[in-house]
Symmetry: C2
Subunit: 482 residues, 2 copies
């Protein structure tokens, strides 16, 4: 295992500093080395050091004072993980209606898209791919479904398999099934593995599609709370799988939606070990896998899976454009079953687009595009973060991780994110309130913000509306207290 | 009702002649008027008269002798409809594995496509649409999913609604939901209406997707046998809905797949009346609706539906190309529920293609293309029919209806269509055996043949292989009998 284990530099640095805080070497309210000092000490770049400090801050381990630098936070600021929860989906949770209402409300072009799940489309639909589409679409043979039926275009499956191999995951084209977007990959995978009444373990805060899929398939849902520091609570996980006959887990461990964390390889390795011991399957939602800021792509759980228990699902929706509706699953031995299910639901993914992706991927255009995309997302999110940190009331906390394009904003306990969302949507500003991702009453005061957009006056205007609305909600709450 | 009721000319003629046979005016083995005489008597064109005679022949009411003309068949040739059957899908019917194996076997380009469900792609993908795709695909805005999310592109829904209105069915754009192909429309509709354990009534011989959907949703299946003359057995239907708490029916009444018949408007009206009386929903699979040979498009059941009980599902797959993956459902009051289901499975249909269809449909290109397509299908099928009638052993019967591109071939009772299929696939010829469409042991000796292809030496070669294989199977059977 040791040889497999690595971290991004900033993560590594953050990890080391965290140890110093946790073992008491650095006492609460003591000042951390300045950024410049830390650069000299560690040998890392200024960017790496800043990222590490920001991560520690997001995790609530340190705090910053303007012009004074960073300080160690009180240890008791760290939340104690709640025990896992058994959630009954019978009678039905109202998440479907909420999600539907929400998606409809942010759909209009008039609404500022800070609630969207997709990156700014200006950053997607790369010109080279559009050019290829323009060429192929004029040829009627590009539309031929015959060679694009499940499991999908062979050349495309080979190219996807190559990308797994480059990460050290032995993959054959026949392990891959192409789907109409990542959500279809996730749904078909879950359907292939479960029967109604089976137990599924979800992260407590998770992409709403997981709740909906579990509900639709009649599964019993158990949820696992996030670990406030590591993202994933391995001890609670071990406890729950010892106590419940879990058939399958559905986890997102890289650039988690909505929170943003990436779980360390050390923990991933432990999860894999437990999955194997208990012979539990995992649906791995990894649709943000390419949107890391460091030099190396985080490993998926699939990397640690020796027994074909993990179905790794991903897509091109967050990197090339959701309008292409193109995803896949590393299905392995489940390939045939998933193809069965696909042939009786949507028959196949779009032939033209599969053909265009073959062209695009085989000439390294994708890597080039991803590098540009990552830089832009990192830059844009940074601007959002700085603005929010500066202007949000001090009782709010912004979780900022070095990946993706979401910030996860914690409002004071009593402030309802639904109320903030509803007041903002009346002002044509969309944000995603936490009840979309977490059904527990204790998690109603978070907001997911999409920070993929270029810093414009319009965006700044929307953020001002957001901050005003939060301030208003907070003053309402404190007025009620009196 | 009278004012609504109409028939195609050939259907009307066939209907009148049928009455003469049924009421005994024309005795068995008496000679029918020659085609020329009939043209003079009826005032219809030669084509119309030929179609009427062919339909009567396909229904087993008359038979032809070479160079002598047509004769009235023995009345006892008419099959007595079987009673409806209750089919338990628990334990699971093996239709999924069979369909999967079948679809895989005919997928190769080396295999003659007579088993395909899709028309010859040479007749689809019209140049004008390809040109529009070429133009739109070079513009990144064409891919924008925002305005193409469920219920789908508004302009496209308006154009589809107009087509319903032109048939006298009052329709608003908001009644329509665009889907990724017709099968998704059918599946989402069924899912919106049923709960596991509900009773569904299927036609006994039906597109296998209906069996699969019923199985996947855990429904109890009852099947209704086809009426040998009218396609639909209204008396058996009345009997079954009086005896079982049917929640929903899934019927195909126009250009039925695989058999080919179109049910008369008179019977459709009666079905609608019974549906209303018993408040039963209908999933209407009408994906072949545009492929009629007469002058007027057959009415869907939706036309006779005053209470929003019918969910009419159709697609562009059989007319423009299945590679576009574009269908829709007239969802009416179920629109929101179906959108819910779509947002949690495939999110939306492809934006680019929705935009292209708007362009294509709004300039009457579709009508022009449909006229050309229908002519070609009629011409090609006619050639297949004549060849098969001439060369197939006399014990075989070919059902030929004036629509679509399938011939339904009845082999002698003891000949297994699975065996014929398996022997032919080894010779690289694909045909669709009846166990794909009918799970009853009494219906194992039919073949669906796709006759959409231009008459080439290669096609003729494949048909020769087919006829030889049937002959061989028949001689094996008769050898066994001795």
């Amino acid at each position: 295992m040791d040889s497999l284990y690595f971290m991004y530099k900033s993560e590594q640095l953050a990890h080391n500093l965290k140890l110093l805080i946790e073992n008491g070497s650095w006492q609460p309210h003591s000042k951390l080395p300045s950024l410049r000092e830390q650069v000299q000490r560690s040998g890392f770049s200024l960017i790496t050091v800043m990222n590490a400090y920001q991560e520690l801050e997001a995790q609530g381990l340190i705090y910053s004072k303007e012009k004074s630098g960073y300080f160690v936070a009180e240890q008791n600021n760290i939340q104690i993980p709640q025990a896992y929860s058994v959630v009954s989906l019978n009678p039905k949770i109202e998440i479907n209606s909420l999600v539907f209402k929400y998606l409809k409300s942010i759909q209009s072009k008039q609404v500022s898209p800070l609630g969207s799940a997709f990156p700014d489309s200006q950053l997607l639909y790369p010109p080279k791919l559009i050019q290829i589409m323009g060429q192929l679409s004029r040829n009627r043979h590009s539309y031929d479904q015959t060679t694009n039926l499940p499991p999908g275009n062979l050349a495309l499956r080979k190219l996807i398999a190559q990308r797994y191999c480059m990460q050290g995951i032995p993959t054959d084209a026949n392990d891959i099934v192409i789907t109409s977007g990542g959500l279809e990959a996730l749904n078909l995978s879950l359907q292939a593995i479960t029967q109604p009444g089976d137990y599924i373990l979800l992260q407590q805060t998770i992409f709403y599609g997981a709740w909906q899929a579990a509900e639709r398939l009649g599964l019993k849902v158990i949820t696992l709370p996030e670990h406030p520091q590591h993202g994933f609570d391995i001890e609670a996980f071990e406890q729950v799988i010892k106590n419940y006959p879990i058939k399958v887990c559905w986890f997102m461990l890289n650039a988690h939606n909505p929170i943003g964390f990436t779980v360390s390889d050390e923990i991933k390795y432990k999860i894999a070990k437990l999955l194997h011991e208990h012979q539990i399957h995992l649906i791995e939602d990894d649709v943000y896998e390419e949107l890391f800021y460091g030099n190396q792509k985080p490993l998926p759980m699939k990397y640690f899976d020796q027994q074909n228990l993990v179905l790794h699902c991903s897509s091109f929706s967050k990197t090339l454009g959701s309008g292409f509706r193109m995803g896949w699953v590393y299905a392995g031995k489940f390939s045939e079953h998933i193809q069965h299910l696909q042939l009786m639901s949507t028959i196949s993914a779009n032939a033209l687009i599969q053909n265009a992706l073959v062209e695009f991927l085989s000439h390294h255009h994708y890597e080039k595009h991803l590098r540009t995309l990552r830089r832009a997302l990192e830059k844009n999110k940074k601007q959002f973060f700085q603005y929010l940190k500066q202007h949000l009331p001090k009782d709010c906390k912004v979780y900022n991780y070095p990946s993706g394009y979401f910030l996860w904003i914690q409002l004071p306990d009593k402030v309802s994110s639904m109320q903030v969302y509803e007041q903002l949507i009346q002002q044509q500003v969309g944000v995603a309130p936490s009840p979309l991702f977490n059904v527990l009453p204790s998690h109603q005061h978070f907001i997911r913000m999409n920070c993929s957009f270029e810093w414009t006056e319009q965006i700044q205007h929307s953020l001002k509306r957001f901050i005003e609305t939060v301030q208003l909600a907070m003053s309402d709450e404190s007025a009620l207290d009196k």
